[in-house]
């Protein structure tokens, strides 16, 4: 392979990573549940794209697997699953965050800064794109923030998934070829199972509590 190609690759990857970050921030301010799910699908698509690019430019076949699995799982299956659940339970669309959008926007700005600070010492290590690690950490932090800024069970699941995206991004960004395939597969299936379990629990909670509001889940004290 020759240099301009890898130059191009890293350009693309940086671009996509930035896109993922933007989507994350959109999710922070976005008020509608279904839109959130679609945004997540889009984010995952970008992740898959990054993986594909790596696989293409470094012709590392097993990373195609990662890309494919991500597309199948995170772009189609999980959003579909969540959508179905939302429809089946007629969850009202409002997400009802704890903080209003401007404040959360401000916070997330702070997180982004922190992410870059944490990542700076390691820029030398990333050989693809610039500051993808920073993006990954920011995804983690903002995902975290999403988790405790949302009241609905489903949205917490969604936030968790964005954190997962962050991890995968870090994985591909830092390690060129992603993790060994076994691990990749394991992680992938774990995520799937996790979401199913979560879905199951959400369903049960829904039918016992007649609500999706996790702030109602506060009987266990002391």
């Amino acid at each position: 392979m020759n240099l301009p190609q890898s130059e191009l690759a890293s350009q693309l990857i940086t671009l996509l990573a930035a896109g993922m970050l933007v989507i994350q921030l959109l999710m922070v301010v976005q008020g509608m549940l279904l839109t959130n799910i679609r945004l997540f699908a889009l984010q995952s698509l970008m992740l898959a794209a990054i993986a594909a690019i790596i696989a293409f430019f470094h012709n590392a076949t097993h990373v195609y697997w990662v890309a494919g699995l991500t597309v199948v799982g995170k772009v189609f299956f999980l959003p579909w699953l969540l959508n179905r659940q939302v429809r089946r339970m007629q969850i009202e669309q409002e997400i009802a965050p704890l903080l209003n959008s401007s404040a959360s926007m401000l916070l997330c700005g702070g997180f982004t800064l922190l992410g870059y600070i944490v990542a700076r010492p390691f820029t030398s290590l990333e050989r693809l794109g610039n500051n993808t690690l920073g993006v990954a950490i920011t995804l983690l932090l903002t995902g975290f923030f999403l988790m405790f800024n949302r009241r609905k069970a489903i949205t917490q699941v969604l936030a968790l998934l964005t954190v997962e995206n962050g991890v995968m991004l870090a994985a591909v960004a830092l390690t060129t070829y992603g993790m060994p395939l076994v691990v990749e597969l394991g992680i992938f299936f774990d995520v799937m199972v996790a979401v199913m379990v979560l879905g199951l629990l959400v369903y049960r909670i829904r039918e016992t509590f007649a609500s999706m509001d996790v702030s109602k889940l506060s009987q266990l004290k002391g």
Binding site: I117, F144, F148, N149, V214, L217, S218, Q219, K221, G222
Partner: protein
């Protein structure tokens, strides 16, 4: 002589105790067998324990018994090593003598539990407690000592809450165990400090041999810290003021044979620990140690007896007297420490002997008194003195034994209490000359306080004996009381004998303490202690005071004829009539007219009002004039200032803070997520 070494006897005793535990548990369902097996084993064990102690104090004193190991332990630093040195042997003697008497007593006493409670369990715990105590006195490794100490506390807790159906019993048990555990915590820290000073590397660094005179090598700060920790830890067990609050709660609620054991031996483990640590490990003490111990002793003695006077629950009264006597013992130890500081080994030996002699004396007569109280409880089913009276006619033998105990604990000649307090007085008196600093005033002043204590104790036991045994029965169950079973009497008789022996033949007994002072102070018995070939007990110097209880007793017997001579002279024709007591012309006296226990101690309550702060409620109903009341109801409570001012607020504060903490776990998952998030952020900043 090889086949009868002290170690062999000690091992026999340990095995017998274990057999007692196992056997009585196995025979749990058949209570009679359990009773026989359990207390039989403890009797055997106690006898061989006495043998071992005597051998170790006499024959094998010079070389000292060889240490032996129970079994190799799996923990580094822990050696299950046992060594019977003079100090341990002395305390082993105490526990074994009491063990013997109490076991004999228990045969009869626990029959009262048949059908109600499980005698097997009682016997098992009783044996376990004796076993643990024996190990405490003989362990030669701090780690092992702590294990025995904890097991002792645990079994004591189980015995205290044996009759756990009553709420007061459960609370008393919990209070006891918590206090004792806090004490143990301090002990652990103290021993760890020593361990550190010993180097803290080789497994041997935990054995008492390495601790010996270690204090000299420690930095003053650590040494003082260790001293305070030990004083606190052992003080809780010994029940010194203000760490005593558990004692009057826990001792009364236990079965009486156990109460006797607790008051007689278990609190003495605190004294043992203090002696062991302060005289054996800590090296030459700074002056303030001795001053502290002496002061604490004085305060405990006075407060203990004052609170005892206010009680009309017989067993609580005795429990408070334990605090008083612990105080007296500590006076001796404190004086000894001060003498060590000023380098007067002879006086130190005298003071130490005084303290230790009072230790065994108190063990004997307090156990005797508790057994007497137990007999009364057994006969009348109440501990409230106001419901007793006239028992001397219904249970004469018990009454006699109790009287002996009462005379002994009131430090009246010629019994043993007097002897040990006499020794204490002597050491305090001669302490005055040992130093020029103002500190010397401590000696006579604490001597005066000791006098006050003795006089108050006498008052208290006039009340205890007089109200309980004399005059008319104040209640039905007292009138129905009956003498207790022969084995119980035997147990009490044994202790009575011990009281008399320790009282009349102190010089014979003190000979046993020679090796002990030699070991702890490097000083044999003071030369003038035993005078006129054993007839007279002297003090530490040539022209010092002397006393001979035996002589006093014999002389008294010689003087008895004088009144008889007088009868022969004048009153040959006189007659004796039995008549009613003068009742001011009323129609006969009723028990209501007798002086009550509360009334008896009223003057003292008035005098020390500032201390007791009694809450009194008087309700009188009258028609036209308050002076002609129809009904009159009077009640007065006394709560210890330490409980109301110190412990309750402390407890309340801790619980309030803990409840505040619970707000952290408020149930909101968002909050939980935020905790994790903040932790992560902080760590990231820390890692950068």
């Amino acid at each position: 002589m090889d086949q009868l070494s002290s170690n062999l006897l000690l091992q026999i005793a340990l095995c017998a105790y274990c057999a007692g535990v196992v056997g009585s548990l196995l025979a749990m369902r058949r209570e009679r067998i359990a009773n026989l097996v359990g207390f039989g084993c403890s009797t055997v064990a106690a006898v061989s324990g006495i043998g071992a102690a005597l051998l170790a104090l006499t024959v094998e004193a010079a070389p000292g018994a060889a240490p032996f190991e129970l079994w190799p332990s799996l923990i580094p630093y822990l050696q299950l090593k046992i060594k019977l040195d003079p100090l341990g042997a002395f305390f082993l003697l105490i526990v074994s003598v009491l063990g013997l008497a109490l076991s004999l007593y228990s045969f009869g006493y626990v029959r009262g539990f048949y059908g109600r409670k499980n005698v097997g369990v009682l016997a098992a715990f009783y044996n376990a407690l004796l076993l643990a105590t024996t190990l405490v006195f003989t362990a030669a490794n701090a780690f092992f000592f702590l294990i025995a100490w904890e097991i002792m506390a645990l079994t004591a807790y189980c015995l205290v809450s044996f009759e756990h159906e009553k709420t007061e019993t459960r609370n008393a048990g919990v209070l006891f165990f918590i206090m004792s555990h806090i004490g143990t915590g301090c002990l652990i820290l103290g021993f760890l400090l020593l361990f550190q000073a010993a180097g803290g590397q080789s497994p041997g660094d935990y054995s008492f041999d390495t601790f010996r005179a270690l204090g000299a090598t420690m930095s003053p700060g650590r040494r003082d810290a260790a001293f305070l920790l030990f004083l606190f830890g052992f003080g809780v067990k010994a029940g010194i003021v203000p760490l005593h609050i558990w004692l009057p709660e826990a001792h009364p609620v236990a079965p009486s044979n156990v109460s006797a054991l607790l008051s007689g031996v278990i609190i003495k483990t605190g004294i043992y620990g203090l002696t062991r640590v302060l005289f054996d490990f800590m090296g030459t003490p700074p002056n303030w140690w001795g001053v502290t111990v002496l002061t604490i002793g004085t305060i405990s003695a006075v407060l203990g007896v004052l609170y005892a006077l206010m009680e009309h629950d017989l067993k609580r009264l005795l429990a408070y007297h334990s605090i008083e006597n612990i105080g007296i013992i500590l006076m001796g130890l404190g004086a000894a420490l001060m003498f060590l500081h000023t380098n007067h080994p002879v006086l130190a030996a005298l003071a130490l002997i005084a303290g230790l002699y009072h230790t065994i004396n108190h063990a004997v007569f307090k156990a005797l008194l508790f057994l007497g109280a137990g007999a009364v409880l057994h006969a009348t089913h109440t501990r409230d003195m106001e419901k007793m009276g006239g028992l001397i006619k219904r249970m004469p033998k018990t009454a006699f034994f109790f009287l002996i105990g009462a005379v002994a604990i009131s430090a009246l000649p010629p019994l043993n209490g007097f002897v040990s307090e006499w020794l204490t007085y002597q050491s305090l008196l001669q302490g005055f000359g040992t130093t020029d600093s103002l500190v010397r005033l401590m000696f006579p002043l604490s001597g005066a306080m000791l006098a006050l204590t003795g006089a108050l104790a006498a008052a208290c036991f006039v009340k205890a004996f007089g109200i309980t045994f004399l005059a008319q029965p104040r209640s039905e169950q007292a009138a129905q009381a009956h003498e207790v079973s022969p084995t119980m009497l035997l147990g009490m008789g044994l202790l009575t004998g011990a009281c008399v022996f320790l009282g009349l033949f102190p010089t014979t007994f003190l000979a046993l303490l020679g090796p002990l002072t030699q070991q702890l102070i490097g000083q044999p018995l003071p030369a003038y202690l035993v005078q006129a070939d054993g007839w007279v007990l002297g003090s530490a110097k040539a022209m010092g005071g002397t006393v001979s209880t035996l002589g006093i007793a014999l002389m008294g017997i010689c003087l008895l004829p004088i009144p008889l001579v007088l009868w022969l002279f004048f009153g040959r024709r006189t007659r004796v009539r039995i008549g009613p007591t003068w009742d001011c012309g009323l129609r006969g006296l009723t028990p209501q007219m007798e002086y009550t226990a509360t009334g008896f101690s009223k003057p003292i309550r008035m005098i020390f009002k500032a201390l007791f702060r009694p809450r009194r409620e008087v309700q009188r109903e009258y028609d036209y004039s308050p002076y002609f009341a129809k009904t009159l109801r009077f009640e007065s409570h006394i709560e210890e200032a330490f409980v109301t001012r110190l412990y309750r607020p402390l407890n309340r504060t801790i619980l309030r803070l803990s409840r505040r903490m619970r707000a952290l776990q408020a149930g909101s998952i968002q909050a939980y997520l935020i905790y994790i998030f903040i932790t992560l952020l902080l760590l990231l900043l820390f890692a950068l």
